[in-house]
């Protein structure tokens, strides 16, 4: 028989250019192959610290994103009604002059009337700098509706949290617990880590109402009831403390466990650390039995004794913890029913944690010296590690739950030790080393400090003289004092309500607030189109949107600034922002245009950051205009290289100084970007071995961090089991201090801003009748999709083109559902009608669906009968940004009372059978597509050159 001929060595491409992926927030390194000048193949960069060669489905589908028919082509001005999708294309000069004509008067009169919020922006240190120069206090990114509970709880408690702040010690951990993980965040590193754990035979345990993805491969699964993770964690704390399975030496050395808490209940310092005249927290010195400053030389802190003085007993933090957590309230038997996890399984989980932490101790023969100068011959590790993200964050008890998880890690002595959780530089960085937030805008002047930061008491809140919120989103107010990422999800609702005030121009970047990034989508659409009967103007008079694609939000813009695709732009993944460091290395990276943005028919697109610099120059913003009137920065690439945040510290840390020898610190280097390109798009600088663990207390690490410009002086600190900032708000609520909360918030502040982690039922659950709304409803983002970006992707939409509501067996049988059925999903706020599917591996009281698969007709260049636009749906329609009215006339936001994080996952619903139908409800009318509909056939065939 003749065997066909085959060329085993075809040419792959003409050229490989290395850049950073942007198909999600992971920031993997990619090798982009070009053939005939066009992108032909994308694969993972083997040298890159984030993904080490692998690439996920999104990353490989990047080509379809790059050639997407939904790409915008030129700046556009709205011609039809808002939301209609009717636009005319205009030139850049016209577009930017229009924007300038709106913004310049605002800057002169009332800069706060310009609100600028960004979504999945990876240039937050740049956009915030720009907004600061403008002078508006109203800037934030999307953290407030994502995972600020985790980030803030982590930073306040240990000086860092998961993902960008730290990672499990994948090479050494022996037990890994995942709580409520969104499978799209830190996607490749976690998958790679799980693979390593499986290879080494380490155990993986999933705690999640839904057993998909990572939970499917977990060796054991706890199908917990949503919103009760905190209760489960504190029950583990109960069992571990009761069994004495906590690391006393670690607690004594590295935490505030021995700090004395002022026991004078009547004093304005009651419940704060007992302090000396210099303000130093006090511990009992075991040598003398007397209080002493916690960091005084030679002091041996005593965990076990209280100090009685002047008739008042001051007790160490650990005593308070024993008193709280050893009560039966937290016993497995007491929490089992609410958590949906049998008591014996909770005990078994505690047992497994205890056994691995304390019986499988790791010892590294690696000497190190602590910040007090004491040398340690070895590093002791407790190989239990955790990871958690949005699942436990996006509840109205999320901050305390995230706190509880960090406290559990501390009790085990498993933070910054071999086998445990490890910080990534520039973390560890305690809340006290972060700036405080700034507001008080002055016409014509830049904001005097950064928008976001960490508050430590009522004095740091951003309130006007009349006590009302200084920011449009009401971040940093009594309602949610520690809102470190702002509250983007409240912006449109508050601006529409004129509470705290009206705004004039809203600018959004990469944020789909008219669709899947807003709670209460249908109502938000109404708010965006609402007009003021007095003026006939829109209630939100002007909206500017920058996006690369024809999203739902674009249709509501008055002015659209078209962004490039991620393969056509400059970016920096900066240490000033959300870095890509590893536990053992400092790293940052760039995006460079692998192809120019000049594609036929799309000549008008420009990278948004360069556009913003142009607009800043036109507005005459400080830092953007030279003395001769020219622009300081020609474009974003110029800014990346030459901007200095502090002398010698700029957006990129690598190859600083003219000769490229500067690491972290150094003068701008005109050749810097080329050095990055030559090195594959990233820079990495390894931490010395001695400095790789115990970083908050490790003298070698602290010295290295100062040398690299992460800090200007060493910042050793201890972990905060007891959170004084929360206690300060409680004291105010008890009547202490000048700045007092409004009456209606006193009780809630006293109850929820507890300095020790505690649990309370989510607010919506407290507000509704559980028999009427017996089920929890959740969303997840699939690993192969990311928000809206994926749905117009010709390949990914074939994997996730629609999203049924997954229903657990008990509910399925109860309602007598069969395949192909539809249900009404009814929440206290509204109803949707959607298709269902049965899922067995699901908490019995939970239904769920994939997030952001549903699309509005006419968006994303999809045909109007695309399944995303017919059968696909959003749960957002029935999640309100406010809690059900209580009859007190007040607007209570559906957010965490500490940080203001959107409580997406508190949703309660009931299901009713519906007649089978073709389209999900509500059916929002179509928007016109400014880019038409994508082609019928896609054939990607570019090779060889």
């Amino acid at each position: 028989m003749t065997t066909p001929k085959l060329d085993p060595s075809p040419r792959v491409s003409d050229e490989i250019r290395k850049t950073t992926c942007y198909m999600c927030a992971c920031r993997c390194g990619i090798d982009v192959h070009l053939s005939g000048g066009e992108v032909s193949h994308i694969e993972g960069n083997r040298d890159h610290p984030v993904n080490r060669g692998v690439l996920c489905a999104k990353g490989s589908a990047g080509i379809m994103q790059h050639v997407s028919p939904a790409r915008l082509r030129a700046p556009m001005r709205r011609t039809g009604p808002r939301g209609s999708g009717q636009f005319e294309e205009i030139g850049w000069d016209e577009a930017l002059d229009l924007a300038r004509s709106w913004l310049a008067p605002l800057r002169k009169s009332a800069p706060e009337k310009f609100a600028f919020f960004t979504g999945r922006d990876q240039s937050q240190s740049f956009t915030s700098w720009w907004a600061q120069a403008f002078g508006t206090p109203n800037w934030a990114a999307h953290g407030g509706f994502c995972s600020v509970n985790m980030a803030a709880a982590g930073i306040y408690t240990i000086g860092g949290a998961f993902w960008e702040f730290g990672q499990p010690d994948w090479e050494r951990t022996r037990l890994f617990l995942l709580f409520g993980v969104a499978e799209d965040h830190d996607s490749n590193p976690i998958k790679m880590g799980l693979g390593r754990l499986k290879e080494r035979g380490a155990r993986v345990i999933g705690v999640n109402p839904i057993r998909s993805g990572y939970n499917a491969v977990a060796d054991d699964w706890f199908g917990i009831t949503p919103g009760t993770d905190g209760l489960l964690i504190l029950s583990l704390v109960h069992v571990l403390m009761k069994a004495g399975r906590i690391d006393l030496e670690y607690l004594t050395r590295y935490t505030d466990a021995p700090f004395l808490v002022n026991g004078d209940a009547k004093s304005a310092e009651g419940g704060l650390y007992l302090r000396d005249a210099e303000g130093k927290p006090q511990v009992l010195d075991r040598r003398t039995g007397k209080p002493a400053a916690w960091d005084a030389p030679g002091v041996v802190a005593d965990l076990s004794h209280e100090w009685r003085h002047a008739g008042i007993t001051h007790r160490p933090v650990l005593h308070h913890m024993a008193e709280r957590y050893l009560t039966e309230e937290y016993s497995p038997e007491a929490v089992a029913e609410r958590c949906g996890v049998p008591a014996e399984r909770i005990r078994a989980l505690a047992e497994e944690i205890a056994r691995v932490a304390f019986e499988e101790e790791i010892v590294l023969e690696r000497p190190w010296t602590d910040w007090k100068g004491q040398r340690h011959e070895r590093m002791i590790g407790r190989p239990v590690s955790f990871h958690a993200m949005r699942g436990i964050s996006a509840h109205s008890n999320g901050f305390q739950t995230c706190r509880a998880l960090h406290v559990l890690q501390i009790l085990l002595g498993s933070v910054e030790v071999p086998g445990g959780f490890r910080f990534k530089p520039p973390y560890p960085k305690p809340a006290t080393a972060h700036p405080k937030p700034t507001a008080n805008p002055k016409p014509g002047e830049p904001l005097p400090g950064p928008h976001l930061g960490f508050v430590h008491g009522p004095g740091d809140l951003l309130l006007k003289e009349d006590g009302s919120a200084a920011r449009i989103d009401k971040a940093f107010t009594w309602e949610n004092p520690l809102s470190a990422h702002g509250m983007m999800h409240m912006v449109i609702s508050n601006a529409h309500a004129g509470d705290p005030y009206r705004i004039d121009t809203l600018m959004l970047y990469m944020a789909n607030m008219a669709w899947n990034s807003s709670m209460n989508t249908s109502a938000v659409i109404d708010m965006l189109t609402a007009t003021d009967p007095d003026t006939g103007e829109h209630v939100i008079p002007r909206i500017i949107v920058s996006d690369a694609y024809s999203s739902e939000m674009v249709a509501y813009a008055d002015l659209v600034l078209p962004d490039t695709t991620y393969l056509e732009r400059h970016d920096c993944i900066s240490l000033l922002d959300r870095p890509i460091c590893e536990a053992e290395a400092l790293a940052d990276s760039i995006r460079g245009p692998v192809v120019p943005p000049e594609r036929p028919g799309h000549e008008g697109v420009r990278g948004f950051q360069s556009v913003l610099l142009d607009l800043g120059h036109r507005l005459g913003l400080p830092g953007m205009v030279r003395e001769d009137g020219g622009p300081v920065y020609a474009d974003y690439a110029d800014y990346i290289v030459n901007h200095q945040r502090r002398p010698g510290v700029g957006p990129l840390a690598g190859w600083r100084d003219e000769d490229g020898t500067g690491k972290g610190r150094g003068a701008p280097n005109p050749g810097q970007l080329q050095r990055y390109i030559d090195n594959g798009g990233f820079w990495i600088d390894h931490i010395p071995e001695e400095a790789q663990f115990f970083k908050p207390w490790n003298a070698a690490y602290q010295a290295w961090a100062v040398e690299r410009g992460l800090f200007d002086s060493p910042q050793p600190y201890v972990f905060s089991l007891w959170l004084e900032p929360l206690r300060r708000f409680q004291l105010a609520a008890e009547g202490h201090g000048e700045r007092q909360p409004p009456e209606h918030l006193r009780a809630r502040i006293r109850e929820t801003l507890d300095p020790l982690p505690m649990w309370y039922p989510p607010f919506e659950q407290q507000a509704v009748d559980e028999d009427t709304y017996p089920l929890h409803a959740l969303t997840q983002r699939p690993m192969a999709m990311y928000h809206s970006w994926g749905s117009q992707n010709a390949w990914l939409r074939q994997i996730h083109g629609e999203n049924p509501l997954y229903v657990p067996r008990a509910v399925w049988d109860d309602l007598g559902l069969t395949e192909g059925d539809w249900v009404h999903v009814i929440s206290p706020h509204g109803r949707i009608t959607v298709p269902v599917a049965l899922m067995e591996a699901l908490n019995a009281r939970t239904v769920w669906t994939w997030n952001a698969i549903g699309k509005r007709k006419g968006a994303w260049a999809l045909s109007e009968d695309a399944p995303e636009a017919t059968r696909g749906f959003l749960l957002n329609h029935i999640i309100h940004e406010l809690l059900p009215p209580r009859g007190d006339g007040l607007r209570w936001s559906n957010s965490d009372p500490v940080t203001g994080q959107a409580a997406w996952f508190d949703l309660r619903v009931r299901l009713e059978r519906a007649e089978p139908r073709d389209e999900a409800l509500p059916a929002i009318p179509a928007q016109a597509s400014p880019v038409g509909v994508g082609p019928d056939v896609v054939r990607h065939a570019k090779r060889g050159g």
């Binding site: 028989m1 065997t3 060595s9 075809p10 792959v12 032909s40 193949h41 694969e43 993972g44 083997r46 060669g53 692998v54 690439l55 489905a57 990353g59 490989s60 996607s187 790679m192 799980l194 693979g195 499986k198 155990r203 057993r211 998909s212 993805g213 499917a216 491969v217 060796d219 054991d220 009761k242 069994a243 004495g244 399975r245 006393l248 030496e249 965990l303 076990s304 005593h319 024993a322 050893l326 009560t327 014996e344 005990r347 078994a348 497994e352 690993m783 192969a784 010709a794 390949w795 083109g801 067995e840 999809l862 045909s863 009968d865 019928d936 056939v937 896609v938 054939r939 990607h940 090779r943």
Partner: protein
Amino acid sequence: MTALPRSTDKKLGLVIDLDTCVGCQACVISCKEWNSQGYGAPLADLDAYGSDPEGSFLNRVHTYEAVPETAADGPPVVVHFPKSCLHCDDAPCVTVCPTGASYKRSEDGIVLVEEDWCIGCGLCAWACPYGAREMDGAEKVMKKCTLCVDRIYNENIPEVDRIPSCVRTCPTGARHFGDLGDPESDVSRLVAERGGMDLMPEQGTGPVNKYLPPRPKGAPPILRDHAQADRGEVDVLAPFLEPVAEDARGFLGWLDRSLGKI
């Protein structure tokens, strides 16, 4: 009808670890991407932005749930199951081919379709018990996994990357490539260690690709032993969780005693 080689020098194939696959679809898209621009016709997508998008894929991941018979056997489990051509020793898709377009290579055992000879009759897809072949909607030729035959010997690619695209990209490392005909190869050892299995062995196709089954789920072995010994009794937890105290007061006493020892 087309003949199979009597034997092959190598048996190149994949070993897929079902204990590790999280169902992320990275392999599916990486495969689509590489194979849309290489061997044969591109993998077309019809109605790509419309109501019924349908493209050809050489590899798809399916998800199954398994429900234990009783609750005592643990909660339901979910298995992600990637499936592509298994490059069978007795490939029925080859013997059924009327033109010789479907063939199995004698040097490495890879089953391929010579698209110039393929008449698009679809017999091979009917013959394949695994559903591993898909007709391209635009070209009307049969598409299937080539084991990236244009990568694994490709001298224009760095040696480390001469592996199938799905294996190179897999973030969890759940996919392994090698010679399953060599008992000393890494993949053969992995199959031996982990009890690698044939898919539907009763079909008699002799699949070269192997699947590593999920490891047992539930409590760790040490705890399972306790539980078996003490079934029905509460205290399966000693000695790890022996209480040192019943309340805060007792805890402080324990604390005092313990600190004395540090």
